[in-house]
């Protein structure tokens, strides 16, 4: 019962069709394909009916999403609000003390950081990102983001899948479903993390999409990041090859008697792919192949930045090799009220928390942007930075900030983004997004657009309904596009 979506990996199918010459009518190929046992007609129909290529020319081929779990405070990073300093300690008009997870004081909390303008574009930023801020002219800032959940896990789910409950596919899964990967020997969608972020692996779940669209999740602290990649102990490559040769011969014979069972051919091929992955994946992730200068630039050699530096450098190597979607859950926090799984969650002391968290990501991110540009990769690599929501402008306790879904800042850079743009605004205290408000669906629609996908056309039928990443919403944020 060949399920049409599974006849072959989508990307392989696509490459195959490319090789076969897509110009002729689909029917003409059916025999060719069937003699090779690669496609059932159902699969072919599916391929023909769904876009085999992006809906339009993509601006970005790959995406690196720098996710700051726990959520940075907009008013202590990039959304400058001098009124907070001026009116520190005064009552915040219209403040809802139940905005976040706990109860806030209703009193304005000034940012503990020094602020200034950077670059030609004059974007404001606090002092905690000395490296990242060198690149503000490459970035488009969105100051008017808002979301709907004031709780980490639902908000992370919303940021990744557009919906605050579990079960919907995350964006990386949608993108690999829509576009596949450029490299058959590597996974198309990779998640990198340190401490497992709050919410666990369901926040990057493929939901109801087939499992092939789930990410390969890599714990940056682990020595064996991909399961079962290393050949068995005691078996040499030659011995394994001998085993696989027989397997291939036997499976081929079995398949030839059943030429219309497409899964058989796919599985036959999958052993060869796996065999190649055994060498390709470790190579791609081996940052010791980088020069000392490069590693130093990222901060691999410093304790505070080591983990994120390794992740960012690996991300660049993966993008070079055609990996489509990379999400890094970035930030470590060994103090300042930070909790490992939500390192940016500055409830008690926003200053202490953010200094440590920012230190852990700043140099690696700055280096990543610089490295991508130097290598000419920034043009078609989209970099996205942000948390799952914002933080309150009034204080929690004396110097902390609670969750605030009503306003936060994100920035995008690289593939298809117009640098130096400052889009939307929060109110004068940074408490609520007020001008050109951007819901998460719009961000998703825009990112899909940059990757060449029309968010209204990228659908999947599940339990009788066509689902979209953007549900029934989503508008492009045109002013940030190049």
């Amino acid at each position: 019962m060949p399920d049409q979506t599974n006849a072959f990996d989508y990307y392989s199918r696509r490459n195959f069709l490319k090789r076969a010459g897509l110009g002729a009518g689909a029917l003409a190929f059916m025999d060719v394909l069937n003699t090779q046992g690669l496609l059932s007609s159902a699969a072919l129909a599916k391929s023909a009916s769904r876009a085999l290529k992006p809906d339009y020319a993509p601006k970005a081929k790959s995406i690196i999403w720098l996710f700051m779990p726990g959520s940075p405070s907009q008013v202590d990073t990039f959304d400058y609000k001098p009124q907070l300093q001026k009116q520190h300690g005064k009552k915040l008009k219209g403040a809802d003390p139940k905005t976040g997870f706990f109860t806030t004081s209703g009193k304005i909390l000034g940012s503990p950081f020094k602020w200034k303008q950077y670059g030609q574009s004059g974007a404001w930023a606090s002092e905690i990102f000395p490296h990242t801020t060198k690149h503000v002219d490459k970035m488009a800032f969105i100051y008017s983001m808002y979301s709907r959940s004031n709780n980490h896990t639902p908000a992370m789910l919303e940021m990744n899948s557009g919906f605050f409950l579990q079960g919907r596919p995350c964006m990386g899964s949608w993108v690999t479903y829509g576009l596949g990967s450029e490299n058959n020997n590597l996974p198309g969608f990779v998640v990198m993390r340190g401490v497992m972020p709050r919410g666990g692996s369901p926040i990057w779940s493929p939901g109801f999409l087939p499992k092939k669209y789930q990410p390969t999740a890599i714990d940056g602290r682990s020595k064996t990041p991909i399961a079962n990649l290393a050949p068995l102990k005691g078996m040499t490559r030659k011995q394994q090859r001998a085993q696989l040769n027989i397997l291939r011969a036997m499976n081929t014979k079995h398949q030839q008697l059943r030429p219309y069972e497409a899964d058989l051919a796919a599985r036959l091929e999958s052993f060869e792919l796996a065999y190649r992955m055994q060498t390709a994946a470790p190579e791609a992730m081996d940052i010791s192949r980088e020069s000392e200068t490069t590693r130093e630039m990222y901060g691999v050699n410093q304790k505070e930045t080591n983990l994120v530096a390794k992740q960012c450098l690996t991300a660049r190597r993966l993008v070079e090799r055609g990996v489509r979607f990379i999400q890094i859950y970035a930030g470590t926090n060994g103090g300042g009220g930070g909790v490992g799984d939500v390192p940016w969650d500055g409830h008690n002391d926003i200053g202490g928390n953010h200094r440590i968290a920012a230190k852990s990501v700043d140099q690696p991110i700055g280096a990543l942007l610089q490295d991508l540009q130097q290598r000419g990769m920034l043009e078609d690599t989209l970099v996205v930075w942000g948390g799952e929501f914002g933080r309150t402008s009034d204080s929690q306790g004396s110097k902390g900030r609670d969750h605030n879904p009503n306003a936060f800042t994100m920035w995008l850079a690289g593939g298809g983004i117009q640098g130096g743009v400052q889009y939307g605004a929060s109110d004068e205290f940074g408490y609520k997004s007020v001008d050109k408000r951007v819901p998460i669906h719009d961000l998703h629609a825009t990112i899909l657009h940059l990757l060449g996908l029309d968010h209204e056309k990228l659908t999947y039928r599940f339990n009788g309904r066509d689902f979209r990443l953007t549900d029934v919403f989503g508008n492009l944020i045109k002013p940030i596009l190049a």
Partner: protein
């Protein structure tokens, strides 16, 4: 700017503004205000979505006429003239509610907002005439809706005539063959027996046949051999295990909450056991469904009925919720219930009618909210089921019978002996109170144990014997005098983790008599007087004065008091004080009375006080108390299930109510929803009352909503039962044949596919009902048909005319699902543990069948996930089958698969004498249910020899090569694709 506003406000205040719908009189000033301040803003920011000219009028709200404003949209009137605070328009432009923020992208300036407030305050003067455009609401035509194929009543079709009657084995074949003959496609012939047995075993048991079972079947000359095989398989316990997994997919079954903290539901496995048991006993499918919706109310004394409601309880639940999320989450929970119920049982996407009427199917939003209202009162938690009420009652009666005489003995003693003892004591009582003499404390410790419990339970010595100058126990610890430890003070003096320290002193009195002490402890304590335990408290926590009082019966002379303090961790200590042994004042008064003058009540009081000081009474009392600990307790089994009043998100007064919501938004309620059903699935809408009030003589006293719903959904004459039957027979067909007769098994609506053989579908559904809704006869009907039994190969005609095999001219090979793959690995390697039921393991290396592995949402079993097991969040009627390199990596490199291969290797090479061809043959029989061909034997022999040589001098070279070979067999496509 401030000036005109001030004037206007004055004006407004001076004017009594007309309230209600009739707008205020237009004055030139007012008109000017509207034209300069209001109309431009409306045009610029609102008309795009809220005017007759809009592409689509959003929220059915029109702001381009006065009438449109007053009439309002889905959420009600946009404004109430004179009352800005009550006007939705103002709430929206102020962005007061996150769900209602207009304009959506950017907020109006504060001065613009003030203008609108002032304008409404002055009565919302508005010169714009014209009627609001009639928004034509598409009304659902249910009568027309019922014409759709799946909503029509079942028709009883007679199997059509066919030409090739010899091909027909079951009436099912007539339906299939008639169509094939019409299309001039010849179906395949029956597959060979060696294929059929493997096909049938995996279909019904999810396990491979053993070589012996294959041989027996092949040698069975009886023409009924195959039918008997099917009967045997359907009667086997493995049938329920295999088919339960299909149902558990639909039920999004899991044993944890999901979300960030993913709390375990350790009592959720009962639902899984219910499904297995119900299938094995062939519970009628209508009853199976009824119990899953309302078992707790249909049959409250039955284990199966309670366990069954795990179906509605199985959805995810997030325990960490902010106040603002709870109501929204409750509606999500109810949506999960109705969505699961709808897709799993009726193949209907009821959930799509949540925000608006269903776009394609005749299900209204009104239907939706009335359907979820059936569950308004329902919550989910561990129901404490009394599994043996009768046994418990019997045991209790026996206990009481044994207990009574013990109490009687004590009562008799209290009546007959105790007064005399008391009298003697009073008589002999010294006139002057003599204080007991206490020796200084001696201590010994700490005695460490493996655990706190062990430290508490172990006798280290002093409780039995005190010899102060001798070291104690194996640890040889010495007694230490503590002359400075004063009484009446807390002493935090002890150390040790999971350790005991002992205190000892003597209490000397000239004559026997009562005394009382007050003690404190950190953590647990035991007190012994003259080697008899008088107190035992297994507690933890810090020490304080007077945590416990102990009455002591002192004998004349020296009494030995031992206190054992048991510490879990951290500091440890004690407190001690001797209370003056004098009776309390009220008792003293009675003692002072002459015996004759004490009334009955006083006598009773006195006896009660005295009794604990009387050794004989204490002995009798201890016997009573010791027996009391044996009181039989009911055997309570927690079952994670649904019930009225069960736990859910709590958000106050509305927690157990369901409202109609605008666009599914719980901040926009439109009135209370009462229970009801999908109108298209009733032969007449008037019938609804009949189900709600059914079998109740008192019309006002209606059935519990879930019970009524269960009746409606299984009523095949007037309710939804015909669709229920169609959907389940299609699922059976789908699992046996690879595709359903309806190829969208969870969508029988207009967006789903149409049945390829509608008459066959109705035939099977009708048979199901005629057979009392039993599923096994339907399985048999399908499995004994030639459609099922035919070979899988392709033919040129078939390919040319029906490449997708929609007409069933062949029965293709199917890849096994994750669970039978893992189960087959266990079976083939000879390591399968067939233990049924009960809590499962999270360890994929566990040896029981996969259906018994625990389903924890954040820790799903890797090997099952790899082969497309569902994530247990939504109902799944058709799994995706993917083929990806990580599966191959696992087969090649995972220690798990290697271990299985090693077990198989051991099994096929029981001794060093075994010859290679025999090893190969055995492995093929076990793993593939067939003998190897000559060429396979030769290829594999070469392979084994080569691998052996490649391992060189390693003494395990040959064993390793056999394992390499076994692993290779398990990697064959033939192993997991069943013809």
């Amino acid at each position: 700017m401030p000036k005109p506003l001030a004037i206007l406000l004055t004006l407004t205040l001076a004017n009594t503004v007309t309230l209600g719908a009739s707008p205020t009189k237009l004055t030139p000033q007012k008109l000017q205000f509207f034209e300069s301040k209001i109309r431009p803003v409306l045009i610029k920011t609102c008309y795009k979505c809220h005017a007759a000219s809009s592409n689509k009028i959003k929220g059915k709200l029109q702001l381009d006429t006065r009438a449109g404003l007053l009439k309002g949209g889905e959420s009600g009137p946009a404004l109430i003239p004179g009352h800005p605070e009550k006007s939705l328009l103002i709430k929206a432009i102020r962005h007061d509610s996150p769900m209602l923020e207009m304009p959506p992208k950017s907020k109006l300036s504060p001065s613009q907002i003030a203008d609108f407030e002032a304008w409404i305050k002055m009565g919302a003067p508005d010169p714009r005439d014209g009627r609001a455009k009639e928004i034509i609401e598409k009304k659902i035509d249910y009568d027309k809706g019922r014409q759709f194929w799946s909503f029509q009543p079942l028709k009883n079709y007679i199997p059509p005539k066919v030409k090739n009657t010899t091909w027909v084995k079951s009436p099912v074949d007539n339906f299939i063959l008639a169509r094939l003959e019409k299309e001039q496609i010849a179906p395949n012939q029956t597959a060979p027996r060696i294929t059929l047995i493997r096909r049938a075993y995996f279909a019904l048991w999810g396990l491979p046949p053993t070589p012996q079972q294959v041989a027996d079947f092949l040698n069975d000359q009886s023409p009924d051999a195959y039918t008997e095989l099917i009967d045997r398989l359907l009667a086997g316990q493995h049938y329920g295990e295999r088919w339960a997994r299909h149902w558990l997919d639909l039920a999004r079954f899991a044993e944890s909450n999901g979300y960030a903290f993913d709390k375990d539901r350790n009592a959720a496995y009962h639902y899984r056991d219910f499904v297995i048991k119900a299938l094995n006993q062939d519970m009628p499918y209508n009853q199976f469904i009824r119990l899953q919706i309302a078992g707790d109310q249909i049959n409250p004394d039955d284990y199966m009925a309670h366990a069954a409601t795990g179906f509605i309880a199985a959805g995810p639940f997030t325990s960490q919720q902010t106040q603002k999320e709870r109501e929204r989450s409750r509606y999500e929970q109810l949506d999960d219930v109705i969505h699961t119920l709808g897709t799993a049982t009726l193949g209907l996407t009821i959930g799509c009618a949540r925000c608006h009427d269903h776009k394609f199917d005749p299900i209204s939003a009104n239907d939706y909210y009335r359907m979820i209202a059936n569950f308004a009162q329902t919550g989910f938690d561990d129901y404490k089921y009394n599994s043996n009420p009768k046994e418990h009652q019997a045991a209790l009666a026996a206990y009481n019978a044994a207990h009574k005489p013990l109490v009687a003995l004590r009562t008799a003693y209290e009546k007959e002996k105790l007064p005399a003892t008391l009298a003697i004591w009073i008589k002999n009582r010294p006139k002057d109170v003599v204080r007991p003499k206490l020796s200084p404390w001696q201590t010994v410790g700490p005695f460490t144990a493996a655990s706190f419990d062990k430290a508490y339970d172990t006798s280290f010595g002093p409780e039995r014997k005190i010899i102060l100058n001798k070291p104690v126990g194996k640890a040889k610890l010495k007694w230490k005098p503590q002359p400075n430890w004063a009484d009446g003070k807390v002493h935090n003096v002890f150390t040790g983790t999971n350790a005991a320290n002992y205190l000892f002193r003597t209490i000397e009195v000239p004559a026997a008599g009562p005394a009382e002490i007050s003690i404190g402890r950190d953590d647990a304590v035991r007190v012994y007087l003259n080697r008899r335990q008088v107190l035992a408290q297994k507690v933890t926590g810090g020490v304080a004065p007077d945590q416990a009082k102990v009455k002591l019966n002192l004998k004349a002379g020296k009494n030995e008091l031992v206190i054992k303090i048991i510490n879990a961790s951290g500091p440890s200590g004690f407190y001690f004080k001797l209370l003056d042994g004098d009776p309390p004042k009220n008792i003293q008064k009675i003692i002072d009375l002459p015996a004759a003058k004490r009334n009955a009540q006083q006598k009773q009081q006195l006896l009660k006080w005295f009794a604990p000081y009387d050794p004989q009474w204490v002995k009798l009392n201890n016997t009573v108390k010791a027996h009391q600990t044996k009181v039989p307790k009911p055997k309570i089994i927690p079952i994670f299930s649904a019930r009225k009043g069960g736990a859910t998100y709590n958000f106050g007064a509305d927690t157990r109510k369901v409202y109609f919501l605008t666009r599914g938004n719980s901040n926009q309620k439109k009135g209370l929803a009462s229970p009801g059903y999908s109108r298209v699935l009733m032969s007449s809408p008037n019938l609804e009352k009949q189900w709600l009030n059914a079998s109740s003589k008192d019309a006002a006293k209606s059935l519990p909503p879930r019970v009524a719903m269960a009746n409606w959904i299984t009523d095949h004459r007037q309710g939804a039962g015909h669709l229920l039957a169609r959907v389940i027979v299609n699922r059976l067909w789908k699992h046996h044949m690879g595709q359903g007769i309806v190829r969208t098994p969870s969508d029988f609506g207009t967006q789903g596919e149409r049945p390829t053989h509608p008459q066959l579908l109705d035939y099977l559904a009708t048979k199901l009902i005629q057979n009392g809704w039993k599923l096994k006869p339907i399985h048999k009907l399908i499995l004994t048909s030639n459609v099922y039994m035919q070979a899988g190969h392709t033919t040129p005609a078939g390919i040319r005319k029906d490449i997708e095999n929609k007409l069933w001219w062949r029965r293709p090979a199917l890849r096994l699902e994750a669970e039978p793959i893992r189960d087959a690995l266990l079976a083939v390697s000879g390591t399968l543990d067939t233990k049924m039921f009960g809590p499962g393991s999270l360890n994929q290396a566990d040896k029981r069948r996969s259906v018994y592995l625990k389903v924890k949402r954040s820790a799903l079993i890797p090997i099952l996930q790899l082969f497309d097991a569902p994530n247990a969040l939504q109902s799944i009627g058709q799994r995706n089958i993917t083929t990806v390199p990580p599966q191959a990596l696992a087969m090649m490199n995972s220690p798990y698969i290697r271990q299985v291969a090693a077990s198989l290797a051991k099994r096929v090479r029981p001794s060093t004498e075994a010859a290679i061809p025999q090893i190969i043959t055995d492995a093929y029989h076990l793993a593939l249910s067939r003998p190897p061909t000559a060429s396979e034997i030769s290829t594999m022999t070469n392979f084994i020899n080569q691998q052996t040589a490649s391992y060189g001098n390693n003494p395990k070279a040959f064993d390793t090569a056999i394992t390499d070979f076994c692993q290779l067999v398990l990697c064959l496509n033939e192993f997991m694709f069943v013809d």
